[in-house]
């Protein structure tokens, strides 16, 4: 019986087109994913079909499983109801449950068969003529089988049951479809929220997809492991699947029982009470007033929109979307409030709140697509179309009314978001609400996107004339388009399907500022384009039974001639406007598209790379005259630069990277332009010196620069010159001399495509002999130590800042002028700033301390000032004197979220620090303090001692700055906060190294790898400090400043620091210190058990039993051309001979990391299995191995055990 139904169901699907269409899509997508250039799931240095990539691919497809389930399973449940066959079917002597079960299993089999096209596609990928066989690994049937059985099948069963329940409950395929969307959104939300939960076990058990426990292992995987290993299934995975499968079975049983009752959406309405019946005269039928004047159209439009809107609002789908929106926002809110990142929280400013609200954008988009389809099919679904279509109503009022009703709907959504946003802000203690941004974003730009999406999805519905195919196409476009544009390397915002707008950055400094014009211009462009799509939709809008293309063609001719008088002018306007936009974005404001940029960059490198080491004179003294006009988006610069040849060789040519679109006017004393080449990414100019420069000879280099930004831009080119909060670094207005290797293509596959050699290492190798190789520092070769004098002017309401001390300021012609002087020779690395600032002033050790901020962001300025003063005190006491008369922190708009150190000046983004919420979790790591301390430390580590341009270059700057700030944090907040900081550093390091592709260096040879110079740097240097003690480290560091601070080249490299440290390290610790600096060691711990007993002497003895594994990776494992040879991240276990701390704590439940420290003891371990005891006076409730991170651990959580 069951078998018969199952066979019948399979035969049913055999005759449908859907299984074949879906299978083809999955098959082709898989082939494309595996073979298309530039697409990769597991990273570039991964096989396209490595076990890890396969896992990701099955995971991604798992996300859209609900669509499969809805098509092949839910439809089996609702089929009879939709076809009104239910009454007949269920009157037959068949067991209803068996029918449903048979169909459910049949659908499962169909879906599973569709998924089997993935392994097939994997086999066939290698035969595709365009496939790069280097990128395809061996066919791993075991990996396919593992993913199919552990990712696809369980999720199919679980989600299948949930959707089956929804289908059985609602008896409607439309609601099942909605349910499918809801399940995707809900499951994804739970899954992503899980990432924020600190308790990994709970997270792993509650993830509805069951991926969390798998990702927990794979996210720390190295390249080697990703290419070779099957993913790990631990007990958490199986427990999770057991829980969810049980739930699925329960839902199943519920679904079977529910099916016996009638649908909640088909219930009866209540009886109305009767009222007295009026008397009707017959004349009303014959004397009706029918009005078909133009007002009829308007009335109908309004009426149609109203009715359609009410139709949406009354549908359960609407309630479901609103419920989901609120639920997602609530979960997001809970996630934010409860997240325990250990870092300080960001304030709920209006623009941050908009980011918070953005999580529901895709939900709303899917809602719009759904309701657009629902409205286009409204009459036909209700089967009232025969009546409706024979009414005298104009077709275009029906169409426009439907669009209008979605606009109303989006208004409702926007208002919900507005209310939630304001409540969120108030709840989080922010009472300054920026209404203009709310309205512009929610009711302006959101509405714009919603309107265009409505037109697009209705267009599909109308043209395709099949609801589900059109849904599929709409979803496909919004999902696939971004990848498509990236793949085609399309840069123009005019060429896409869904509208693209220039990137805009709103800020509390200026609101929309300079981004407004171009954004609005593009919105008008897209509205015109979508207006034309609207016309096409109208021409083919289905009315009556004319559904064949022949009939629709006739309708088209008729409607086209009817609408000509509107279409033609709009079409002409659209063409003219497109021309205008083309002129503005390509000719007035030209730019190089992505493809052209790459070609020009490749040409530049191929043609001029041989000039890399051609000598360049170095600047020693610079004089700038800068006039900023922020309100006009223009500025001009006059510069005089005195330069000296410091090289041994004679310089007879100077190469200049001049800008092609905005050229520098160059005036050289005694030099003439001999050649220029505009085919490169820059205009590469060659100046011939009439008298060549010998060593020690000097030269005056002069140039002028003028920049004016106007009209509409494809992307806002200069988003640093702002109406308020201008912040530009010197490279914006200073031409780079000599071959600029920053202009080389860095992306590996792009390099390959343009025939450039692979950049195996980005920096020259580290050498001990630091003479000739160390003549350049790593931040730029324009000068070694220069003095800068600047006169800068700006608009009357702004303050302008340049490097050094302010000499004087004055007003002239309603403009503000300032004169600055940087008299301490410093790195040629500075910025200029202009804005409407408030200033907080103080002083410390004779240094004038200043914080520049906008009035809205005063909250943390005192904390910044405090950190500034503390930094000056600790660093100058222990490292060496601070040489500038001023130390400034300057807030800048959030086009970037970093802080940066220039000599004596530290610009700091509004999005960090200035809007951090320090009040919420005072025990979290104080990021405001930390960042100021870090940037201030750069005044020593980078601006006094700077690494030579070779491997290890950032050890002397970033690692030392990070260490210094951590030490200061410890002084200010104690060891508990230090432990938190170290744990974050440990986790960040272990997580990021998994994505390393060019090879993980040791700290000594770090090559600009953030996770090594920041996270590992702070861990290792702080550990060494724990071993050697603070005084010894400070001795080493102050020696470094004495030897290399502000010294002419050769510049120091890693060995300078290593030598200082080694000279102070006792022999017993040498191997430990060396391991941190020169090796890659990661420990993993497994605590078997731990218990505490009270001894007779009233002391407490805590014993712990744990095993330890020490894994070492090769710091010389480098990127290989062939994936099969890659061994990055391959590790081997090595013997243990190390010191370990063991500590016990009390009051573990309070908000600090460990609780109150009772006792800490250091042990020397040389075995894998360890049994240790620690005695304390008080009763501990927690024991921690290596609490303060003298080593790096795979997962610090494994080191903690509650007693």
């Amino acid at each position: 019986m069951l078998l018969n139904i199952l066979i019948f169901e399979l035969q049913f699907w055999k005759k449908r087109v859907f299984p074949y269409v879906f299978a083809l899509i999955v098959f082709l997508l898989t082939i494309l994913i595996f073979t298309l250039e530039g697409v990769s799931l597991g990273g570039d240095a991964n096989y396209r079909n490595s076990p890890y990539s396969l896992m990701i691919w099955y995971y991604v497809l798992g996300m859209i499983l609900p669509i499969f389930i809805n098509t092949f399973i839910s439809s089996g449940v609702t089929r009879d109801y939709e076809n009104k066959f239910d009454q007949i079917l269920y009157s037959l002597p068949v067991n209803r449950n068996k029918i449903l079960l048979g169909r459910y299993i049949g659908g499962l089999i169909v879906i599973f068969l569709i998924f089997l096209t993935i392994p097939l596609a994997d086999i066939l990928s290698g035969f595709m003529p365009w496939a790069d066989k280097e990128l395809l690994g061996p066919w791993r049937w075991d990996a396919h089988l593992q993913s199919l059985l552990t990712l696809t099948l369980p999720n199919l069963l679980i989600m299948g049951s949930v959707l089956f329940l929804i289908a059985a409950w609602t008896k409607s395929i439309n609601y099942s479809f909605l349910g499918a969307i809801a399940v995707v959104v809900l499951f994804t939300s739970i899954s992503s929220l899980n990432d924020k939960i600190d308790n990994k076990t709970i997270a792993a058990l509650t993830d509805p997809f069951g991926f969390t426990s798998i990702f927990y292992h794979t996210k720390k995987w190295s390249l080697y492991e990703k290419n070779h290993f099957l993913f790990i299934l631990d007990w958490k995975y199986f427990a999770n699947r057991l829980i969810w499968l049980t739930l699925a079975i329960l839902l199943w049983i519920l679904a079977l029982n529910l099916n016996k009752f009638s649908s909640p959406f088909r219930k009866q309405t209540k009886k109305e009470k009767q009222t007295a019946k009026p008397i009707f005269s017959e004349s009303i039928f014959s004397n009706v007033v029918m009005d078909f004047s133009p007002s009829y159209i308007l009335r109908n439009l309004h009426f149609q929109a109203k009715m359609d809107f009410l139709h949406i609002v009354r549908s359960p789908a609407f309630i479901v979307t609103v419920g989901l929106i609120l639920m997602i926002l609530l979960m997001n809110f809970v996630g934010i409030v409860q997240s325990d990142s250990g870092l300080s929280d960001t304030m709920a400013t209006t623009s941050n709140t908009l980011d918070f609200l953005e999580v529901v954008t895709s939900m709303i988009n899917f809602g719009i697509i759904y309701f657009s389809g629902m409205l286009i099919w409204k009459e036909r679904d209700a089967k009232i179309n025969d009546i409706y279509d024979s009414l005298p109503v104009k077709t275009f009022t029906v169409y426009l009314g439907k669009i209008l009703s979605i606009v109303y709907l989006v208004f409702v959504y926007a208002t919900i978001l507005l209310i939630v946003g304001i409540l969120y802000q108030i709840f989080r203690g922010v009472y300054v609400i920026d209404w203009s941004i709310y309205f512009a974003e929610l009711y302006g730009i959101n509405l714009f996107y919603a309107l265009t999406l409505t037109i697009l999805s209705m267009f599909f519905q109308i043209i395709v004339n099949n609801k589900f195919l059109a849904y599929f196409l709409s979803a496909l476009v919004i999902i696939v388009e971004p990848f498509l544009l990236k793949w085609l390397k399309i840069s123009s915002n005019m060429l896409s399907i869904t509208p693209e707008l220039p990137r805009r950055i709103t800020s509390d400094f200026y609101g929309y500022g300079i981004f407004k014009t171009s954004t609005i211009a593009f919105m008008i462009y897209w509205l015109l384009i979508y207006g034309l799509i609207g016309f096409v939709s109208y021409w083919f809008f289905v009315r009556g039974k004319n559904i064949s293309w022949k009939e629709r063609g006739r309708e088209f001719v008729y409607r086209f001639s009817n609408s000509k008088m509107f279409f033609v002018p709009i079409f002409l306007i659209a063409i003219a406007y497109t021309g205008f936009m083309y002129y503005q974005t390509q000719i007035v404001n030209p730019y190089f598209g992505e493809k052209e940029s790459l070609e020009r960059e490749a040409y530049y490198e191929k043609t001029y790379r041989h000039l890399m080491n051609y000598p360049i004179p170095k600047a020693t003294k610079v004089d700038y005259k800068i006039n900023l006009h922020p309100s006009k988006r223009s500025y001009d610069v006059k510069c005089k630069m005195w330069m000296v040849n410091k090289e041994d060789s004679i310089i007879d040519k100077i190469y200049i990277n001049n800008d092609i679109h905005r050229p520098f006017k160059i005036k050289f004393q005694g030099a003439s332009l001999s050649n220029e080449d505009k085919n490169a990414i820059v205009n590469f100019q060659t100046y011939k010196l009439t008298t060549p420069l010998k060593k020690g000879d000097s030269l005056l280099f002069e140039y002028e620069y003028f920049e004016e930004n106007k009209g509409v831009e494809n992307e806002i080119k200069n988003n640093r010159l702002l109406t308020n909060g201008t912040f530009m670094d010197f490279s914006s207005f200073t031409p780079i001399l000599g071959y600029n290797k920053d202009l080389e293509i860095s992306d590996k596959s792009d390099r390959e495509k343009y025939g450039l050699p692979t950049k195996a290492e980005f920096s020259p190798p580290l050498v001990r002999e630091c003479t000739h190789a160390c003549m350049k520092d790593y931040i730029g070769g324009m000068g070694d130590w220069v003095t800068i004098h600047t006169v800068i002017s700006t608009d009357a309401d702004q303050i302008a800042l340049a490097p050094g001390k302010m000499i004087k300021s004055w007003k002239e012609k309603d403009r503000n002028y300032f004169e600055y002087d940087l008299s301490q020779p410093s790195k040629f690395f500075f910025s200029i700033v202009s804005g409407k600032y408030e200033i907080l002033r103080d002083s410390s050790r004779g240094v004038q301390c200043e914080v520049y901020y906008i009035p809205q962001h005063a909250h943390n300025t005192k904390m910044m000032m405090h950190a500034l003063k503390k930094s000056i005190e600790y660093y100058s006491d222990n490292f060496g004197p601070y040489k500038h008369p001023v130390a400034r922190i300057i807030e800048f708009p959030k086009f970037s979220s970093f802080a940066q150190a220039f000599p004596g000046t530290m610009p700091y983004s509004e999005s960090i620090g200035f809007t951090s919420n320090l009040v919420k979790n005072p025990e979290d790591v104080n990021e405001v303090f930390h960042i100021v301390a870090h940037e201030m430390a750069h005044q020593w580590w980078a601006h006094q001692v700077i690494g030579a341009d070779m491997q290890g270059k950032t050890l002397l700057s970033e690692s030392l700055a990070e260490y210094s700030s951590l030490k200061l944090l410890e002084k200010e907040y104690g060891m508990d906060m230090t432990a938190k900081f170290l744990k974050e550093a440990n986790n960040g390091y272990v997580f990021s190294r998994a994505f390393e592709e060019k090879g993980e260096s040791s700290l000594k040879t770090v090559d600009n790898q953030g996770y090594i110079h920041y996270q590992k740097g702070s861990l290792v240097l702080y550990a060494i400090q724990q071993f050697l003690g603070e005084p010894k480290i400070n001795t080493a560091l102050s020696n470094l400043v004495k030897k290399y601070g502000y010294k002419e080249p050769p510049y120091p490299n890693s060995y300078a620091l290593l030598d200082e440290i080694y000279s102070l390290t006792p022999d017993s610790l040498k191997s430990t210190v060396k391991a941190g600096l020169e090796e890659i060691i990661i420990y993993s711990t497994d605590i078997k058990d731990a218990k505490v007993i009270k001894r007779v002497d009233n002391k407490f003895e805590t014993s712990i039993n744990f095993s330890l594994a020490k894994n070492s990776s090769d710091p010389n494992a480098k990127e290989k051309k062939k994936i099969s040879e890659i061994n990055i991240g391959k590790s081997e276990e090595v013997p243990i001979r190390d010191y370990f701390d063991l500590a016990v704590y009390q009051n573990a439940e309070d908000k600090s990391r460990y609780g109150k420290l009772i006792h800490k003891q250091r042990f020397f371990l040389n075995k894998k299995e360890n049994k240790l005891k620690i005695i304390s006076d008080k009763k501990p409730d927690k024991i921690v191995i290596d609490p303060y991170f003298i080593h790096i651990h795979k997962d610090p959580e494994d080191n903690i055990k509650k007693l």
Partner: protein, 286 residues
Amino acid sequence: MNLVIQNLNKKYANGIKAIDNVNLEIGNGMFGLLGPNGAGKSSLMRTIATLQDPDSGSITLNEMDIFTNKDELRKQLGYLPQEFGVYPKISAYDMLFHIATLKGIKENTKDLVLGLLNKVNLYEFRKKNVSDFSGGMKQRFGIAQALIGNPNLLIVDEPTAGLDPTERNRFHNILSEIAEDKIVILSTHIVQDVIELCNNMAIIHNGSVRFKGSPSDALAILKDKVFGRFVEKGELESFKANYQVLSEKLNAGKNFLNVYSEQVLTSPFDKKQADLEDVFFYICRA
């Protein structure tokens, strides 16, 4: 009012010729369109109602081509399709009001809607959702909506299907009342409807018009040519083979055959007064 259909043809994608060279001229009054299920009645009516374009041929209303003046025709049209549904959760009153607005009614819409509801005996149910109506109530609702705007051309497709005798009578009364100065086209497969209501009629079979004229013209075709008798079950087949059987009916449990014959048949056949049903069967069998 004058509706002229000339050389109308329509073939569906599946190859079925739904309208096969139809020529009709229809004036004021009730016009019956009789034909078995699937004869093409609904296709023809949908075509007149501008829901479907023909492959060739023309239809004019008072010499206005309806395919190039769809909106004009729709302004004068009342149409009750054979099958229709309504939006869920909308009351009869709201739904009628909705349609009235779309039909261009600007003033006194409320009175009109209530009056119509009263006329079709749905006044008490005006606040009830149409989706919850019984078949007969829904059909009456359909009639009400078709009457909005006092249309010059009223097309009703199988209107009495599913109505009980009282409702059917009521409906016939409404139709005959309004048919005086306008065209009412009624399609049906129930012969009785035509007999009761129509002065003019056409019989359609397989898409083409097999007969047009008045019901009495139709009866004249079979004058003195219909004979009937009771037969045993076992004899049925041989009778079917030997005679041109028009219909076989059960009469008090026994089979009664109507046969067509040019010659006079003798006992046990009885000469029968031909009725429209016989004509219908005669034409549709031929």
